[in-house]
């Protein structure tokens, strides 16, 4: 018995469609490349250019920061070094994504961990340096900077994990609902 005449009609219409196998093969090759490559050409170029800029600026900073004499405090040199190293590492990661066509959104956990590490390192340097700094004003500025970094880190950690678990829970609930709907359909048939 036909339950929905339009549904059956649609199926039959599809069955009458013929196509050239050559076109189909070419299309399938392109689609499999598309699926393997997680980045489109524009996204790839953006990643590549941004990654190159980050690496160059980061490397330049790594070379220059240890020799900075103005301001003379070592803490400034250390903070500069940590910041520039992080920039260079991030740039390398962007270049890897561009070269292997990987979608950076899929590696959010890695980016987040890198960011967290660098922020902690930066805050540690600033807090440690602030006690050694002779200039009171600089000491205060560094301490405020360090706490601001830790504050940003705390808020972004909470937001990140809330979003992550919200998304995962939503998917789990949907999977459960899908199974229940399948059971209900089965019971109805029986």
């Amino acid at each position: 018995m036909i339950e929905d005449p339009l549904e059956e009609l649609g199926k039959r219409l599809l069955s009458y469609e013929s196509s050239d196998a050559q076109f189909g093969e070419k299309y399938r090759r392109e689609i499999s490349t598309l699926l393997r490559r997680e980045l489109n050409p524009i996204g790839r170029w953006v990643q590549f250019l941004a990654g190159t800029v980050f690496v160059l600026v980061g490397l330049f900073g790594i070379v220059v920061a240890p020799h900075m004499t103005n301001p003379p405090q070592p803490v400034v040199r250390w903070a500069g070094l940590v910041g520039c190293s992080y920039m260079a590492v991030w740039g390398v990661a962007m270049l890897i994504c561009a070269i292997w066509c990987l979608n950076p959104n899929r590696y959010q956990v890695l980016w987040f961990s890198l960011g967290t590490l660098s922020m902690v390192a930066m805050a540690a340097v600033l807090l440690n340096g602030s006690w050694q700094a002779e200039d009171t004003m600089l000491r205060e500025q560094l301490t405020h900077g360090a706490f601001a970094l830790l504050g940003i880190l705390g808020v972004s950690t909470i937001v990140y994990f809330l979003e992550y678990y919200h998304k995962q829970t939503q998917l789990k609930l949907l999977e459960l609902e899908y199974r229940l709907a399948g059971l209900a359909a089965k019971m109805e048939r029986e």
Binding site: G10, L13, L171, E175
Partner: protein, 184 residues
């Protein structure tokens, strides 16, 4: 109350695609490519162009599926993307016509509840080629997908009244062509 299994499956698939899972994207393509190709082939002239449009459609879909807020709207959204790609590459008149179409009051359009028998599918398939582009398009969406008037309106981006009227005249035109084909 439980939702229909298909609706849940569709939402799950969209959410997994939005999460960037390659297996879900592959599943989405496998599920829709045949039907989208059928629709696109009724819009563009050559088969090679249709395959090209289908490929471009997937590129756009994969790039923008994260922006799809309502998973229930997946079906009209996919067809709208395909239509837009076809129009921008091969059929600019599809977009121009949408702008110039006059607004039609849905209440003034007569009802036509004709649902063809499924064993008439071959006649319909062959007769579609003899219809105008705008009639062919609404009929494919209606017969192939069982889309309602508001859903077709969302794909074609014109008011529901216009679609209702277009569907009415398209069904009449199709019946006329089918009758002629049967006689010959």
């Amino acid at each position: 109350m439980l939702r229909k299994r298909e609706a849940v499956y569709q939402e799950l698939l969209v959410r997994r695609c939005q999460d960037g899972r390659p297996d879900a994207l592959e599943e989405l393509i496998g599920l829709w490519e045949k039907r989208l190709l059928y629709y696109i082939r009724r819009l563009v002239e050559h088969e090679s162009d249709a395959w090209d449009v289908l490929q471009q459609t997937w590129i756009r879909v994969l790039a923008s599926i994260r922006n799809l807020r309502e998973p229930a709207a997946l079906r009209p959204w996919l067809y709208a993307v395909a239509r837009h790609v076809a129009a921008s590459h091969y059929r600019p008149e599809l977009l121009q016509r949408a702008k110039t179409d006059a607004h039609v009051d849905p209440a003034g359009v007569p009802e036509d509840d004709w649902v063809p028998r499924y064993d008439e599918a071959l006649y319909i398939h062959e007769s579609l080629a003899h219809l105008s582009l705008e009639h062919r398009e609404v009929l494919v969406l209606h017969f192939l997908e069982g889309m309602s008037v508001p859903e077709i309106a969302a794909v074609v981006d014109v008011p529901s009244g216009t679609i209702k009227s277009r569907l009415y005249y398209a069904k009449r035109a199709l019946r006329a062509v089918m009758a002629k084909e049967r006689v010959s």
